[in-house]
């Protein structure tokens, strides 16, 4: 029978036992999601900033599309990546289906629109504030991108964390492209689905508590870094 008591005690027992299978699962979850967020950030931050600075025909369409893609269902992203990486698909030769790499690719697709859309919004606001100064310095728009991104860095930290939240919480995409293979592509969220399907609800909720604790920890670290940097730089 499930009670919140035995879910918490299961979570505690799991953490205290330092079960090696659990540690592998936690590490893989972190590696996949952090890697996805890093790759997505490298593309989405400059992309979002560029979108804020340049005016071109169809710009509004791109903005609306990015905003809409923030709500892309993970299972749809997963299905698209599955069809792409499947042996019968266009990139089947690479043999990437059911590997952590496939999971990273799927999560990049989920996270990229979030970071790009929110970066666009933040940089546009900042540019509105500083446009005159930046123009008087004679900066080209290309040169403004790093300057504005750097100035917006504290806000962008939250944007990246939102992306990380999306990546670490989703299960639909990694389940399809990873296959939830024990010891290879099993992560926290797919473990929770598996334990639920076994009817082992205390274990499922226990894993959920651990996942939540991990995400909280990462957010706390990011928050602390941000605050320290703010204080130092005034």
């Amino acid at each position: 029978m499930l009670t919140s008591d035995n879910a918490f005690s299961t979570a505690l027992t799991l953490i205290l036992s330092m079960d090696s299978a659990l540690i592998d699962i936690v590490m893989l979850s972190l590696q996949v999601s952090l890697m996805a967020v890093m790759i997505a950030s490298l593309i989405a931050l400059p992309l979002g900033a560029a979108l804020a600075l340049w005016r071109f025909p169809g710009r509004n369409v791109v903005i609306v599309a990015l905003n809409a893609l923030m709500g892309l269902p993970p299972v749809v992203a997963g299905l698209c990546v599955y069809l792409l990486l499947s042996r019968a698909g266009p990139l089947g030769e690479w043999g990437l289906l059911f590997t952590p790499t496939a999971m990273v690719i799927a999560q990049v697709i989920l996270v990229l629109p979030i970071i790009a859309a929110l970066t666009r919004q933040q940089v546009e606001a900042l540019h509105g504030e500083y446009a005159e100064q930046l123009n008087s310095l004679g900066l080209t728009r290309l040169r403004m991108i790093p300057t504005l991104l750097w100035d917006a860095r504290f806000g962008l930290l939250t944007v990246i964390l939102a992306g990380f939240g999306r990546a670490s919480a989703e299960v639909g995409a990694v389940m399809i492209v990873g296959g939830n293979i024990d010891g290879v592509t099993r992560v926290m969220t797919t473990s929770i689905v598996l334990e639920t399907s076994k009817g082992n609800l205390p274990m499922a909720l226990g894993l959920g508590i651990i996942l939540l604790a991990l995400v909280t920890m990462i957010n706390a670290i990011a928050h602390m870094i941000g605050e320290t940097a703010k204080r130092r730089l005034g």
Binding site: A88, G95, F98, S197
Partner: protein, 269 residues
């Protein structure tokens, strides 16, 4: 400075990450069913196989319908599923060159302990299913084209019942989620015995009907065609396929128990 830190982090992540990717090359990907995975069978028999051969087996546990699709697309090296008619069709279509009986267990009907349709004293499974339909008692169906779902639909057909109406609820879910849902809404459901015995959240559900020959549930291993998908690891997959039906493999299957109960019965010829 920050860039350097970022680069180092990226490098460190990259190293750990590629570490995962380069782990053991001697592995096959096996598409199989949730019943074999959820019951814990693979946790018992795969380590034995790996110890003997050095081949790792990576299991993707899905419904039988999806397993066939994975096999057709060339995304798994081997299949272990439970839908004999579907498997024979798979061979006939040329996707597999050989199909072998590996083991069997049986399906059972579980439902709320007060048994509103009174199926526990049914003469046979056809009778039991007719009683559920006549009393319009809630029935949770997998509805996901899995081996269990296909077996259930065949039985409705044999019973002369068209399963539809408010009482018949197609969930489109795996066996575990279906049992969770059936438990939540006090519905009858059709399940393989292995998943049922290993299931931890029965609530008021109890086993109500079992033992009819029509509930026989055969599992088969498929050797995939090297012609269709030359890139697959056919040599390694063939070793797995042959091991399953070998004395050692059959013994490993027979040795697997949950709560002292044997869940799969080897029956390779």
């Amino acid at each position: 400075m920050k860039k350097a830190t970022a680069l180092i982090t990226a490098g460190a992540l990259g190293v750990t990450f590629s570490g995962i990717l380069m782990a053991a090359d001697d592995y096959i990907t096996l598409a199989s069913t949730t019943s074999t995975e959820n019951s814990g069978l693979f946790d018992t028999i795969i380590p034995t196989f790996t110890e003997e051969t050095g081949i790792e087996v990576r299991v993707v546990a899905v419904g039988t319908g999806q397993a066939f699709e994975i096999g057709r697309r060339g995304d798994a090296d081997s299949l272990l599923v439970h839908d004999t008619a579907g498997e024979e069709k798979f061979v006939a279509e040329g996707y597999a060159t050989e199909r072998l009986n590996v083991m069997y267990n049986d399906f059972v009907i579980v439902g709320p302990s007060d048994d509103p349709a009174g199926i526990s004293d049914s003469e046979n499974v056809i009778d039991a299913m007719q009683r559920i339909a006549e009393s319009e008692s809630p029935f949770a169906s997998r509805g996901d084209d899995s081996g269990t779902n296909r077996a259930e639909l065949r039985l409705w057909e044999d019973a002369g019942v068209t399963p539809q109406g408010e009482w018949y609820r197609e969930l489109g879910s795996g066996m575990g989620p279906t049992l969770n849902t059936a438990a939540g809404m006090d519905a009858y459901t059709f399940t393989d015995r292995a998943t049922w015995v290993a299931f931890d959240n029965p609530q008021d559900l109890t086993l109500l009907f079992e033992g009819d020959e029509a509930l026989f549930n055969q599992y088969g291993s498929l050797l995939l065609s090297a012609e269709r998908h030359p890139h697959l690891k056919h040599d390694l997959a063939a070793q797995w396929h042959e091991w399953l039906v070998s004395d050692k493999g059959q013994q490993a299957i027979a040795d697997f128990e949950v709560d002292g109960q044997q869940l799969f019965f080897p029956n390779a010829e």
